[in-house]
């Protein structure tokens, strides 16, 4: 479709005209005119909703909202075209079969071996060994070998040594969806552990001997402590309501030596609505500060983030400080339980705060334990009530921690944002389906590529320059504050307003420091070379090495980052009054000057359109690599550089 206008949400004055293409996998918008012909690529799987709005004089507006929080406003001249696009997109963005997803057609030009290597990057067996199991207390159980006991669990599960197959199976029958207590994290230092399960089917009075024995076994696996915590991450009211349905929570009287604790995290429906409300606030056109803060409060989003964090902090404290093992569950034990276990692990173990460790953590607590990626993130057309930003919340918790502990994480914000992006993109196979079982049946590892390998390949882009493995923050347990006035929970504009670069800091300290560190490395290398040559030269004064040209080359490189200041950004609309000031000088006619104003505007916004928008352009010079290339998508051809490219148009 030609002559489509792409609107800038922040400023109505900036709109670009171009051509819209629909392919089997992407929506593509190519700008007309300008030499650069900027392109905006959006994967169908990223699209969360399409809204056709009332036709106006200029055309038919189409609003596309994406799961990575991009909002695209198009105006299509012909109503009929718009309708066609709308209908096609509706169909294209609601695949019914896994095979329709992009990861099955996506080909980063790697050979079979490289693909297999990629999938081997994260190895959970290795991870459990790193934790220190199997050992005297914990062993691997093959009871779920053929997914016979629990089809949403992995085949290999760690359980206490004293828990026999009989106990496990018995316990599994007493738990929702047969998700029996299994090891999530083991603390080598003091034998305390974090286990996870679903709710017990206790109803008002039911008991299960094997389940009681199972919890007993978990306690015995930690000889240093005479009780375990059972943490129910639901609000008490919800848990009690479940009893009426024959589910519920553990009765302290029936289990010996447990301390039961509710930590109220709301369910997926509340979270979905909360996000929806917060995104509405993000989408407001020039909101006042009160509108924004009130909306943020009203959405409850940060409250929910805090609840998850608080639960994680509680568990980490129990394990690290009290040396007490914890069993965590919610209802089914695949949403809140995953969030809480992974936050606690992250606080406890510095390994999970490294890049590789973080991948392992997601693989362990989310992917292997059957977090329902397909349902939660709507990869296939399904029940909209199943959709909920569960892992987004976990990722945000990590970001909030990064803000409080700037030196504690090996990776940077971009790493988190790109992971969030790919959870929805369906470009890699990692997050397909709802369980390990389904993924095996689909032969994901043979047919798709692993995101982790892709991120690992580009790891230089994701490094936190402030991280040092010998730094105090990268050792031991993190102890975050709890009260909001001690631990400032912030709105994460980097994610939720990710594509509105105008709202973000125009210079990135991270990118700057990364460039400096890169340069430092080059300097170190050169220093070595120079020292060597100097030594040689001194040895044989007569040696006439002519390597000057090389030197000059390098010195040019070093000059690079001084030029990072080419950030010519443009003012926002600070006042409506200004626009209405009709003429700049009495001698000019109104139209004339209006024209000048727009030209002015075009001129000024040009530089910021040409690179990854103004604020990034400086950074790009400096780091010699484009932030989007940091990226996302391994370019099959350079132009098709991802959905990231969208903000070019911003």
């Amino acid at each position: 479709v030609e002559n489509v206008r792409l609107l800038d949400r922040l400023s109505s004055r900036r709109a670009v005209v171009g051509t819209l293409y629909l392919t089997a996998t992407h929506v593509i918008f190519v700008e007309n005119g300008s030499e650069t012909r900027k392109e905006t690529w959006v994967l169908h799987s990223q699209i969360s909703s399409i809204e056709k709005q009332a036709t106006t004089a200029t055309g038919c507006p189409l609003l596309i909202r994406c799961k990575n929080f991009q909002v695209i406003q198009l105006v299509i001249p012909q109503e009929r075209d718009c309708h066609d696009v709308y209908i096609s997109l509706i169909r294209l963005t609601r695949p019914v079969k896994y095979e329709e997803l992009y990861c099955f057609s996506f080909n980063p030009k790697l050979d079979k071996e490289e693909r297999e290597q990629g999938w081997k990057l994260v190895d959970l067996n290795e991870e459990y060994n790193r934790m220190g199991v199997p050992n005297n207390y914990w062993q691997i159980s093959d009871v779920n070998r053929d997914y016979g006991v629990c089809d949403s669990y992995p085949t290999e599960v760690y359980v206490p040594k004293s828990a026999t197959a009989h106990i496990i199976v018995g316990s599994s029958k007493f738990r929702s969806r047969r998700r029996f207590p299994a090891l999530s994290y083991y603390c080598k230092g003091n034998n305390a552990s974090i286990c996870r399960s679903s709710q017990p089917l206790s109803g008002f009075s039911a008991r299960c001997l094997e389940d009681e024995q199972m919890l007993q076994a978990i306690r015995k696996a930690n000889p240093g402590s005479d009780f375990i915590y059972v943490v129910d991450t639901r609000p008490k009211l919800n848990a009690m309501a479940n009893r009426a349905a024959g589910k519920g929570y553990e009765n302290e009287d029936n289990y010996s030596n447990i301390k039961f604790q509710f930590i109220g995290i709301e369910n997926i429906h509340v979270m979905r609505n909360s996000l929806q409300k917060m995104l509405e606030v993000c989408e407001l056109k020039s909101p006042s500060m009160s509108d924004f803060l009130w909306g943020l409060e009203n959405s409850g989003w940060l409250k929910h983030i805090k609840a998850i964090m608080d639960a994680g902090i509680f568990i980490a404290k129990a394990v690290a400080e009290e040396g007490v093992s914890v069993l965590v569950h919610c209802s089914d034990g695949w949403d809140r339980t995953a969030q809480v276990c992974s936050v606690a692990s992250l606080l406890l173990d510095p390994y999970y705060r490294t890049m590789k460790g973080f991948m392992v953590l997601i693989e362990k607590d989310w992917v292997s334990f059957g977090h329902k990626f397909n349902h939660r993130y709507g990869n296939l057309d399904g029940d909209p009530k199943e959709i909920s930003p569960v892992i987004d919340q976990f990722i945000e918790c990590v970001w909030q921690l990064m803000e409080q502990f700037p030196c504690a994480f090996e990776f940077n914000e971009r790493f988190l944002i790109h992971i969030q992006h790919h959870i929805y993109s369906c470009q890699f196979g990692n997050f397909l389906c709802n369980s390990q079982k389904e993924r095996r049946e689909l032969k994901i590892k043979e047919r798709t590529y692993s995101l982790w390998a892709h991120l690992w390949k580009n790891r230089a882009d994701y490094l936190n320059p402030l991280y040092r493995s010998d730094h105090s923050q990268s050792q031991g347990t993190l102890h975050p504050q709890i009260a909001p006035c001690n631990f400032l929970y912030k709105f994460w504009s980097g994610l939720y307003n990710r594509f509105e670069k105008g709202l973000h800091p125009r210079q990135s300290v991270t990118d700057y420091l990364m460039a400096v560190k890169e340069e430092t490395q080059q300097l170190e290398e050169e220093l070595e070379v120079l020292q060597e040559r100097l030594a040689n030269l001194q040895k044989s004064q007569s040696g006439n090495n002519k390597v000057k040209s090389k030197q000059q080359d390098q010195s040019k490189q070093f000059g690079l980052y001084t030029s990072n200041n080419s950030l010519a950004n443009t003012p926002q609309e600070y006042s409506n009054d200004l626009k209405s000031f009709p003429s700049r000088s009495p001698s000019q006619g109104d139209e004339d000057s209006a024209l000048i104003l727009t030209q002015d505007n075009l001129k000024s916004s040009d530089p910021d359109l040409s690179a990854n928008s103004d604020q990034e352009s400086g950074v790009e010079d400096l780091s010699c690599r484009s932030p989007s290339g940091g990226g996302c998508l391994p370019s099959e051809d350079s132009g098709k550089d991802s959905d990231e490219a969208v903000f070019l148009a911003g």
Binding site: K306, C407, P465, C485, E524, E526, L527, L530, Q572, S575
Partner: protein, 550 residues
Amino acid sequence: MEFAELIKTPRADNVVLHRPFHLAVEGTLCLTGHHLIFSSRRQDNAEELWLLHSNIDSIDKRFVGSLGTIVIKCKDLRIIQLDIPGMEECLNIASSIEALSTLDSVTLMYPFFYRPMFEVLEDGWSSFLLEQEFELLSSVTNEWRLSCVNKEFSVCPSYPPVVIVPKSVDDEALRKVALFRHGGRFPVLSYYHKKNGMAMMRSSQPLTGTNGRRCKEDEKLVNATLRSGRRGFVIDTRPLTVAQQARAKGGGFEQEVHYPQWRRIHKYIERFNILQESFIKLVEACNDQSHNMDRWLSKLEASNWLTHIKELLTAACLAAQCIDREGASVLVHGSEGTDSTLQVTSLAQIILDPRCRTIRGFEALIVREWLQAGHPFQQRCAQSAYSNSKQKWEAPVFLLFLECVWQIHRQFPCSFEFNEQFLIMLFEHAYASQFGTFLGNNENERAKLKLPQKTMSLWSWVNRPEELSRFQNPIYEANSLVIWPSVAPQSLQLWEGVFLRWNRPSRFLEEAEEERINIIKYNKELQARVNTLRRRLAELEARGEEAPEE
């Protein structure tokens, strides 16, 4: 008056000091004329706390048996608690602190007694003279002149003795204009935009009154800043209704009929008393130790503090936009021209002028646009957010300005030569200081108090290389461009460094800053070493070439 009269108990032992995120420490408390000194006697880790009495905003005492507890709330927002054994001692100490922290005579303040322990390399009192500023201006334009019409502070008591005005307007006219402007604050040059020759002026409101008085000289003065055929903008920091109401009290605004080449824009910035209320509410929210997120957010919202930040930044951006983008001259004023006016003109300069983003330039900006321009520091900073007494003239006008600078700094972290600590330091010294810089309400009062002769300037201390190094931004790269900050709510954040400063464990953030400094330092060291080696290598090679080949 002898301070000794006020100090009934100069010393108390076995006092326990409590601070958030620190273990309680036992030690000795001493009171002197200007300081509260606490020193712990522990051998291994002797610790001393020196607190200026003038930094104390309020003090509460309570008793449990004979153990007294004093809670001291400081103007820099810190709260400390002292447990003092003995009821009498405690009462004495509390009443002494109360008396010493509320001395009403300026000349009893610490700056008049302070003897610096450092060598003065450069007298800060004469570091930033308007004459130097004018010299710089003269090198690019000859449309302006220095006027000494206010030499005796007789034309405008809150203006400095010299001001910069359009060349075409003589002193006689200035005197007439002064009579037409509130408090005599006639329009003067605030900033000259070299890039396009546009000027930013500031003044107070014109005294048009209800019958629309006009003043030909004022119109001439204002128009003198316009290029022929061009228009200018008057940015009035009051809403239209307030400006209209002001006419009843003799004030008013520039009416189109009399200023046809000017267009008025009203950008509302709250009056100082509203800002003070907002400040108090915000600080209260920040000290609420409740774990409830809703409560925190609603208190933050209800304080309106960030709204004020947003409004102020927007007005400043607008002024900068008029000058840089529209190529128009600008006149900024509110009512008195001593608060919101200065906030707008100084922030606009931060946006427009790269010089103001250097340490030296920022200091000059504060001297020019705040101290010399007659912002009543002594009135505004007499009390901070914990004050119990009924407020009179107190308001965090300067703090708001500093916070806006911080907001811009956060968005352009590489474009400022100074760091966040520099801004926090200025906030502290505006409220309580050993230096005389922020005493008095204007140059007139400072001259009468003989501050330059009797006290030390803050700049004499700050600009010493040892001190300066603490305030430098490690990742500064001079940026010659205009920097346009985002004023969207998503882009603005609470200034943790001031408001949560005493309520958060600061270690992790400090370590991050240290890490940043180290990364840059190591890089520079390497660069220097590589350069030395290169030079030596080149020398050796040259020598080798000279030497005849064997």
